[in-house]
Symmetry: C2
Subunit: 411 residues, 2 copies
């Protein structure tokens, strides 16, 4: 140790004092600043754990169901976007939606049947799939019902409830195109039924074109095996397509010449328009963004500099621009986009903002690489009417009161 640094360290230690505080740890006083700091622990800390979990101080950072404490048949819960950073959603907090509860599947006994209009129908084990060339991608997943509470009036108190049915992970698996190429497609093949091994046998029809483009059979999420709620041990990943088509606990692919018109694409997951007609097979999730901080339920403290931070995504490709407004859309400024910006992936945007202590309305608006601009709610309602639930991708508004309280409004 150099003489200079020895003295520097001694000065720090000599200037410290330990006092018994009324609560919590004793504190140390720094000589240079006079600041009181928490003292070092005097006991050895906690030992190793085979599998890490969050700090007990993070106990409120959890998924929540839409209507209070979940029951045995609750079937959706929301990611706490207001507490998250970056673009990776930690696997424990990825939103959940199921149609028959979460099955417990032994991967050694799981099978995937691929049949229908193929030359060589085949049953795959997971080991069979893992011998094929694999690929990893960062992609978002969004339930088409995300934001469904927001059509008629601002309802969700937090961004967790208004937008928490979207998450983003690194997924690893094999291309569906590689599997189908190995089996050989028969003439007339145009659609593929995907069926889950849950109690509901959740199934959807997927255009063969999507299957041959970027569809994957995935077994891994953020490096480790899929979580049970996300389809362990195998799910279909259809990047950019509405969540429930990414069939979990995948047990069957059936190739056919026509769609299967299953319950979840006829009675459900269609959009009744104002004129009485229904949109069906609305697969791609259109470009959408939301400010996650500040957002509903937060309280700003003293006036001054804040960072506005949020997420943008598009089921049709990359996000190319996000703009932020603090005056309900009267003026817009470009936010910075965190690199890398990836296709069909959450993109984190940030904008430095100075709060003057007065009222403000915060909004974000994104543009994707197809040129599609995220619409206002009024523009969306003009086209879609107010009969439908799904595919609300409108601009979200957060009102900042002069007292600093942030609330959900329609602006």
């Amino acid at each position: 140790m150099s003489q200079a640094s020895r003295i520097a360290r001694r000065t720090f230690l000599a200037g410290s004092a330990v006092a018994a505080a009324a609560s919590g740890l004793p504190r140390t006083v720094d000589a240079q600043t006079g600041a009181a700091l928490p003292a070092r622990p005097t006991e050895l800390g906690a030992p190793l754990r085979p599998y890490g979990t969050p700090s007990p101080f993070e106990r409120d950072v959890v998924r929540v169901a839409a209507d209070g404490p979940p029951t045995a048949i609750s079937s959706w819960d929301f990611t706490p976007l207001q507490h998250l950073e970056g673009i990776v959603t930690p696997s424990g907090l990825v939103f959940e939606r199921n149609h028959g509860g979460v099955p417990q599947i032994d991967p050694a006994r799981h099978r995937l049947l691929v049949h229908g209009l193929v030359d060589n129908p085949r049953v795959f084990t997971l080991d069979d799939l893992r011998r094929l060339p694999s690929v990893s991608v960062m992609r978002f997943l969004e339930c088409s019902g995300n934001s469904l509470s927001e059509w008629k009036k601002p309802t969700g108190a937090t961004v967790q409830i208004t937008h928490g049915l979207v998450s983003c992970c690194e997924w690893t698996g094999v291309r569906v195109s590689a599997v189908l190429a190995e089996l050989g497609l028969k003439p007339g093949a145009k659609w593929v039924l995907a069926e889950g091994a849950d109690a509901a046998l959740m199934d959807r029809s997927v255009p063969l074109e999507k299957m041959m483009d970027d569809a994957l059979l995935v077994w891994s999420q953020n490096g480790e095996a899929l979580r049970p709620e996300q389809g362990y041990p195998l799910r279909l990943l259809l990047p950019g397509f509405e969540g429930n088509m990414n069939v979990k606990w995948l047990r069957r692919l059936k190739v056919a010449s026509e769609p299967f018109y299953t319950r979840e694409e006829t009675a459900k997951y269609t959009d009744l328009l104002g004129n009485g007609e229904a949109r069906m097979f609305t697969f791609a999730m259109e470009a959408k963004s939301v400010i996650t901080r500040p957002s509903g339920g937060m309280h700003l403290g003293r006036r001054g500099s804040y960072e506005i931070s949020g997420l943008a995504w598009s089921g049709r490709g990359k996000i190319v621009r996000v703009e932020v407004s603090s005056d309900a859309g009267a003026s817009w400024n470009a936010a910075s986009l965190q690199e890398p910006v990836l296709t069909k992936c959450l993109t984190r945007f940030r904008y430095p903002w100075t709060w003057n202590g007065g009222e403000a309305v915060l909004q974000s608006r994104c543009v994707d690489e197809t040129g599609y601009v995220q619409p206002t709610l009024a523009d969306l309602v003009r086209v879609r009417g107010l009969n439908s639930f799904y595919h609300l991708n409108a601009i979200q508004s957060w009102h900042v009161a002069s007292g600093g309280e942030v609330t959900n409004i329609h602006a």
Copy 2:
């Protein structure tokens, strides 16, 4: 439902039969293939959970200590790289290394003192830091002791033990340069002491140049708060520098004109060379790669196509090339690199391989953007000798026996 698809579905159902199996679920027989498949569950599955955890079938995918079951004072455990995919290490499996156990810190009471050669020394709360402009990066962290068991003979039975002191996460925080710029640096400032709030007050000297380049104060790991073992609620991130310099539970930065010559940079974390001199302040982790599958402890099944998959990284920038050999380095072939390839980040490589059923020795070798080529162990020992523990980044060899057993060898 179309007539064709109705018939198709009826055929599937009519051809099915449920039989009571000796163990496990009853099975369904597919008419087209005659294949027996697990039947659907007949009961509602598990309900929602506020925070997801891995399937019970993944109970063996955990961190393990080097020498059997950890005790209260065990201080390092390893990431199970052989079970992981992609480049994100799930937070629960990020390797651990501590010097005084894991402290439990209330983030509301935590403080960071920044003092020494600054114009305006200051104590920061976490809320103070969160008002500054933030940034998210995917970066690896590697203990400089990673692979220390492998200098003299092949010791680790699995890649978890030979290479499991490396992990990779998306980290979010603020630039140290922004904090120091706000406080103002005094003339002569060249080094910064970083000190943790653990029982050991773990501290290291960091060149100011690194602090002003890409150093971050991070509070988030893979989207959520840091895990306790990774420094909750605040750690220093020095991309590419040896793990223990990325001080966890960070409570103090002291700016000075000289290094502090702390215990962990004099008595420990130095490299005694063959000539009796010691290398000190060996900060950057040099380029390194390893095949994670197949790897030690695995058994190949039938001959034929396999995917060789592994990880490469460099503390000096991006990986530009990875080559794979199956004949102990006699010949090399380029592996494919999974995009995006990021700086100072794990890079996943893959190579399709056909196993002919005979003996093979699998190796990988990487090159980073500085042109540095990962050395053989013989080359590394020639320079460093066999007195030191740290910074072993040599090529790893896995022997495949004709029976399919994979073991760790020096080749």
